[in-house]
Symmetry: C2
Subunit: 358 residues, 2 copies
């Protein structure tokens, strides 16, 4: 080897993952490889929360309001986190200077929300932010691309193909520039079922497990799955008295624990859980159960910061709330997350590289 040639970096000891990808994944984690991440990339849901608080319609909420809330949440909680997920529209450009350099940054790749095909109004199609790419995410100083995709295994072939295509596109774009690809796969009901109903709660754990299995396929190039918790403590026997319960019981804790184990087996890449707007106490219990089963941590949004909106537009009061309650919420999760599995200890890294033709 002469001084003027360069070794192939992706043939280093780091095995099947390119060195840049490994380095960036490590930047999102603590020194042991556990993810304690804050999500403040909400756009549609934050807009709706602000609209309710200010008696407006979501469309009339000013961009500056979203920017301001995101900045306050980032400034107060990011210093506690190993990584922060924000968005390139209202978040990062207005918060980058308050995110410590040692905290990893993930940027959302999708347009908030979804559209539905004309003939199938329950189905959900994701869209990518126009004019934004994995390469730009990298250049902007972020460490990973996050894509939210809605998934129902029984959606029409067209919808499934559309979603699959988007995941493949982002996966390839990430691969071509060494960016970690974090896929947030979210399930939804069909056939007129209410997302919050007991009927959906009965079937959702299996949907989540199937979704994790589907998008673990190496052809999608996903490095980390961001998943829903495979169970609802609201409907679980042992939590009825913990304040999460709503009176109706459909399962007991052992069934939830079993769903967590099945999810861990289905996920062929490291995974973290999301909070989906549950309370901080319910999410803390979700995290306890998920990390016992093999989750590598959390990427938690509203459970940590949702009450900041109650203080909008009082900037000082929002800051005060996040500096106290918001930080305490996150610290509660940090404490539980000590038992999370370091991402590089995921079983998928102990065998061969598992690459197959897609």
């Amino acid at each position: 080897m002469s001084d003027s040639t360069v070794s192939k970096l992706d043939q280093s000891k780091l095995d099947s993952l390119p060195v840049g990808t490994v380095r960036r994944l490590n930047r999102l984690a603590d020194t042991l490889g556990r993810f304690s991440m804050l999500a403040i990339d909400q756009r549609g849901s934050l807009r709706r929360m602000l609209a309710r608080q200010t008696n407006q319609t979501p469309e009339t909420v000013a961009p500056q309001s979203l920017q301001q809330v995101k900045r306050i949440v980032s400034e107060t909680v990011a210093p506690l986190a190993t990584g922060i997920l924000t968005d390139p529209t209202y978040g990062y450009p207005f918060s980058a200077d308050v995110i410590p350099a040692r905290v990893g940054v993930l940027l959302a790749a999708e347009v908030s929300g979804y559209v539905s095909p004309a003939a199938r109004e329950e189905e959900r199609l994701s869209q990518l932010i126009e004019g934004w790419s994995a390469g730009q995410t990298l250049e902007a100083g972020a460490d990973a691309v996050k894509l939210l995709i809605y998934h129902h295994p029984k959606a029409s072939a067209d919808t499934l193909a559309h979603q699959r295509k988007i995941v493949e596109t982002v996966g390839q774009a990430c691969k071509s520039c060494g960016m970690p690809f974090i896929l947030e796969a979210v399930t939804y009901p069909l056939n007129g079922m209410d997302k919050r109903s007991a009927d959906f709660a009965r079937m959702q754990p299996e949907l989540i497990v199937q979704t994790a299995r589907t998008y673990s396929d190496p052809c999608f190039n996903v490095h980390l799955l961001k998943l829903e918790f495979p169970g609802s403590l609201k409907y679980t026997q042992e939590y009825q008295e913990a304040g999460f319960g709503n009176g109706e019981v459909i399962c007991d804790r052992s069934e939830v624990e079993e769903a967590c184990r099945r999810l861990d087996q289905a996920a062929q890449v490291p995974w973290v859980i999301l909070s989906a707007g549950v309370t901080i106490n319910e999410f803390a219990e979700n995290l306890r159960l998920a990390t016992r089963a093999g989750a590598s941590g959390f990427l938690c949004g509203r459970a940590v910061w949702k009450h900041v909106v109650d203080y909008f537009p009082d900037k000082q009061a929002m800051h005060q709330h996040m500096s106290t309650t918001g930080r305490a919420n996150f610290q509660k999760l940090l404490s539980i997350n000590k038992q999370a599995r370091p991402w590089h200890e995921h079983p998928s890294f102990s065998g061969s590289d598992g690459s197959v033709d897609c």
Copy 2:
């Protein structure tokens, strides 16, 4: 602004520097913005050191020997540093897994050493590593590009144009992908003068000052200058008895301090000093004087680790030396570096953005 459009990130509050560049510069520094960086990108000089130690010619030193020494130095000292400069040939691919994710990485862009034009054998032309780019450096998970350039203001117009062209090329490549550009500008003697002579020592401070001024021009897009110390304590009155002196005196300390001040005025971007193979004690004093004058820290190589080669090829002894003496050397510098100027407090950031046509 709709959810599907992306703000121009380089129009954020971070002013004239793109947000990705700022984030990466901060990754190379401590939380206050001071650089405490280790250089282990030596190729030619390390090869010569290993050749002397093993009674070989430099050409016959095995690549594995360079890789091994670089890995041991990286593993033992990088955890103390805010950043590590290594190379993409023998260094990074074989050391990346021992560099903590929170430590910034700089990769060398140039071929080690120089070539001389046929008719002017004293002049020095730099060359870029073939098949390697700022974009690849970014993708590989590094945070900055470092280019070493030799400079003498009285070199021929052809040589000056060649060097200038290379700096411009790398500067543009860095700019196009948001990478910080660290330029190491090193002076050298002409007219048969010995680099270690008193004659050259008399003129070198002014050469270093001129070099800093030349490459501070915004058209080169340099974010940080890595500079020689503008004086030699070996020839300085007050240091004759400190063990650095060689008996001949050409100046006193106040003149060295004055040269440091002139250098700080000439450098229109933040700057750090390099160690050029002096002893750790001499470099510690260099750092004390430079940081008093406005340097933002150091990027130090051989002064920290050169004696590791004395233990080659005993891997355990090399490790032991670096874990004790090597780390203690670096810690000595960390202590002095507390007085360094945070890079973002450089006077150039307090005025307008200073961009001009090149």
